[in-house]
Symmetry: C2
Subunit: 244 residues, 2 copies
Amino acid sequence: MATRTGRSQRRTEALSRERIVEAAVALLDEVGESGLTFRALTERLATGPGAIYWHVANKDELLGAATDAVVAAALAVEPAGTVEPATAGPPDSPQDGIRAVALGLFDAIEEHPWLATQLATQLSHSPWGPVAPRIFENIGRQIRALGVPEGSWFTATSALMHYVLGAAGQNAANTVSAGTLGPDVDRARFLDAVSTAWEELDPDDYPFTRAVANQVRGHDDREQFLAGLDLVLAGVTALHPMNG
Amino acid sequence: MATRTGRSQRRTEALSRERIVEAAVALLDEVGESGLTFRALTERLATGPGAIYWHVANKDELLGAATDAVVAAALAVEPAGTVEPATAGPPDSPQDGIRAVALGLFDAIEEHPWLATQLATQLSHSPWGPVAPRIFENIGRQIRALGVPEGSWFTATSALMHYVLGAAGQNAANTVSAGTLGPDVDRARFLDAVSTAWEELDPDDYPFTRAVANQVRGHDDREQFLAGLDLVLAGVTALHPMNG
DNA sequence: ACCTGAACACCGTTCAAGT
DNA sequence: ACCTGAACACCGTTCAAGT
C-alpha cells in the first residue's frame, strides 16, 4: 500500500550532516526547543545515537548548525541587490536594503520561533562561529551603502543588529505564547491579556507602563518593528554625515 | 572547632523562597547556567528536593525569580531622581537618566553573565511576568522625561530596551567566553582572537566584516555600549519634537 | 504547614561491537 | 568509514511518609 512513506523521504538514504540538521530544524519547528532530543532525532532518522554522533560533535554543535542553516536561507533570498526589477517604484535605497534584511530575519524568527533564543545564545557564546559574521555582514553592507563613515561602521551595525534581533524575537514570542494559551486563543487575545495585566500593575510603581498598556492592545507587529527600525536608522543618519 | 560555618549562614535556618532564590543566584554566579541543578541546590541548602518544591513550582519559576531579583536590585540603586547630589556638575538630564538605567543593566549583566540569556528567554516566554514591566517602566520614564510624545512611547522604549539588552548581553558574553579560553587568556586576547577570525573570512563573501574586524580589537566595551546608546537616543530625538 | 529522601522517567553521551 | 544499540551518569520532578 505504501511503497514510499510521506514525501520524498526514502527509507534507506545515507545519513549525512545535512540530513541530520534538516531533521533537527523540522523537529524544532514542530515541537519546539524542548522537543529536540537525540531520542526523537534517532527515531525520525531511523538510526541510533552513535550514528548521529559520527556526523555531529554534540547537541550544541547541532543547534548551532540548525541556526546557521535557517539564518543563511533567510538572508539568501535577496543577495543585496543582484536583480533590479524592471517594474515601477523607487529604486532600492539603502534604507530599503536595510528593511529587506531586517524583515528577512523578522520573518525567519516568526517562522522558526526557537531561532530567537538560539540566536541570542549563539551570538554570545560563540561570536567566532558562522552565524554572527553572516548577520553582521548583511546588515553592515547596508550601513556602508548608507554612507556612514568607516569609523562608525561597527557601532552602527551593532546597534542595528541588536535592535533587529531583540525586536523580532519579542514579536515571535508573542505569537508562540499565544499558541500555548490554547488553540482558540489567538494573537489579538494574547496581546489583550498582556495589556490587561499591565493595566493592573501598581499605579505608584508602574505609572508609565500602565499609561502605555493600551498601545500594546491593537498594535501591528510588522508596523511596530519597522517603526523601531526607522527610529534607529534616524539615529544613524542624524549622527553621521552622508555622502551620495 | 567550628560552631559557625562560613559567615552568617547558620545551619538550621528556616527554608524560604528568598533563601532558595539567593542560593540559586549564587550558584548561577559561581558555576554558570549549567551549574544550577536541584542536586547542587539541595546540597547547598542542606535539604531535599521536596523541600524546594514546596516553596517553588519548578525550575523555570526559580530561574524567573532569580532573574527578577537581580534586575530589581540593579534598577533600585538610583530610584530615578530621588536624591539630587549637592555637588557640582550638570543637573541630571533625561539623557543622563537613560544612561544611568542602561549602565545599571549593563553592569548587572556583566556581574551576572547568565542574566543575558535569561532575560532574553524571560522577556519572550513571559512578558506578563514581573521582569518585563520592571525594565520597561525604568526605561520608559526616561523616555517620557525626554519629552517624547505619548503616541511614540511604546516604540521608543521598546527600541531602547532591545538595544540595551542585546548590546549588554553581547559584551558580557565577551567577558565570559574569554574566561572559558583559560585563566591567562584575558578579554583583550579574546577580542584579538575574534578579530583575527573575522580577518580570515572569505574576502568575496565577507568584505564588510573583514574591513571592520580591526575595530573589534581595541574597543572598549563601555565606550562602545554608550556610543550605540547615543545613536539610538539620537534617533529618538530626531524623530520626535521635544518639549521642555 | 513544612520537610525527607527514595524512586521514576528522561536526557546527552560513550563505546565495544558490528559491517 | 560508517552505523548499531546497550549502558552510564545525570537530570527535573513526584510522592508516600514523616514531623
